[in-house]
Symmetry: C2
Subunit: 303 residues, 2 copies
């Protein structure tokens, strides 16, 4: 299966000016901007855990594995450069699955100019596993970290949240372009992408920055999917927006004098919404209409 797949793959992968070697040699060589930092992230998806067994569409699985990694690069405002894709597939039918996985990645490869530089193709008797490493580079505008939030900063999010299980977790477009644009034009103190859930991912920023936050929960942009999930499986739409995860939107921590400009400019094709404030006291809080605070337990999917 492996050598047949490799032949199929080599014929499909276009030569790329950034890659001086394709997946044929022992390793691939990626030409980077001199002086840029090399940004590295990996995600692994497995059948029956991260996607259904068997999934209805292997192309969606491939697309998601690559898109999750691109979202991690976007979370730091890094420019994507290349990806390595390792798969572990059933012996029977594995070749067709491998081709569907790579076909599912192709539109993202083209859209974000992130050629597949190599990987490893294996077969076994078990369920399918897809492991992707994405490589990016820092830009002249630096990187966003989780640790940069400061008291009085504003908490903003892109898009709308919750209910991604209805389809968004497969279809989402990683916020790469949005992150690069914001980083070039605005001061952002800290950021992350929402993979585990708004409240849990924000809590990671708070812990890394040693601060707390209050959320104006009435302002959280709730997706139509969160409302639909609430009707069918219970919970409130807000609970789904706070904890569902896999929104792959950005949480942006913005200095108080920059947030109004960003909110009035609305420079992205997707809405930017202010949902809270950073405070010195640790913890995550819900701010009531009367100004009082109640603790908000971070909830979400802990990988």
């Amino acid at each position: 299966m492996e050598s047949e797949f490799l032949s199929w793959l080599r014929a499909r992968l276009p030569e790329h000016p950034r890659l001086s070697l394709g997946p044929g040699d022992d390793a691939a060589v990626l030409n980077m901007q001199p002086g840029a930092g090399c940004v590295l992230t990996s995600d692994l998806l497995s059948e029956g855990t991260d996607f259904e067994s068997p999934p209805g569409d292997w192309g969606k699985v491939g697309r998601k594995a690559l898109a999750m990694n691109l979202s991690d690069l976007a979370a730091m405002a890094a420019q994507p450069l290349a990806a390595l894709v390792s798969v572990l597939l059933p012996r029977i039918g594995g070749l067709a699955i491998a081709q569907q996985i790579y076909d599912g990645m192709c539109p993202l490869v083209a859209e974000f100019d992130i050629p597949i530089a190599g990987g490893d193709t294996n077969s076994w008797e078990g369920p399918a596993v897809v492991s992707v490493t994405a490589v990016g580079q820092t830009t002249e505008h630096g990187l966003w970290l989780r640790s940069g939030a400061r008291p009085l900063d504003r908490v903003l999010v892109t898009g709308s949240l919750g209910g991604s299980i209805l389809g968004h977790h497969f279809d989402f477009v990683p916020r790469v372009r949005e992150a690069l644009l914001l980083n070039a034009r605005y001061r952002i103190h800290a950021a992350t992408d929402i993979s585990d859930g708004l409240s849990l991912d924000l809590a990671n920023i708070l812990a890394a920055s040693q601060v707390g936050a209050t959320l104006d929960t009435g302002r959280i942009p709730i997706s139509p999917a969160a409302r639909r999930v609430a009707r069918t499986v219970g919970g409130t739409p807000l609970e789904h927006a706070l904890g569902d995860g896999e929104d792959f939107e950005l949480i942006l921590i913005v200095p108080p004098d920059e947030a109004p400009r960003l909110l009035s400019d609305q420079p992205l094709p997707v809405p930017l919404t202010q949902i809270g404030h950073i405070i010195p006291q640790p913890g995550l809080w819900e701010r009531q209409a009367d100004g009082s605070r109640t603790p908000l337990q971070p909830r979400g999917y802990r990988h």
Copy 2:
């Protein structure tokens, strides 16, 4: 399991001057030599396919997964910089396994100064999977490719070959230092590491370079393990040296005026042996004592 493991891992990973972020953020940032190419390679190992189920020693599995990737970097004479390690482990007992896998990597991390920059830790109901991506950089002396072999070049190998199943496939030391030293001091036209078997890996060089080779099979350095395997499972020691694979030695294609110097210098702690010649006609041949040639079928482990 995952968050507990991450805490354990973060406490163990030393800060590294080359990494400006640890595995805690969305991605890691690796500082490279300005102008160097970024060399990327991935290998994935699975329980029951690449190692026994369960293995006697998870540390050996971790060590091998990292060492294989280092061997791929050595095959191109790239300098190792960092590794990303993704694991997929059983829910029950997975934390202890993860710790053993990383503990097994630690000596290589120290010996080759290749910090673990991140990865992804997952659990499921299935067998264990370890996926490693190694990142290296090109040096001022350039890279070795498979495609550089030319007629009249000599075929050399490091070390001795065959029978790695008896233990060498776990214990081998990737030829990173040897490759960097040879690349700095000698002209090497092409190279690869022996992962699938001498004859098959050499055939890959021949195909990439559009040449052929004759082997003086009497000169191939046969390991004591190849002789032991031949006694117990059959075949000749030479057949095991030609086809067993996972020797993780280097095949070096050396210009005719450089080979004598290299062979007389013997600059490595491990022997360098000339085993054949590159010829213009495609194919792999065994050269008899009387100078006649017979075809040699490449054999080995096709991943």
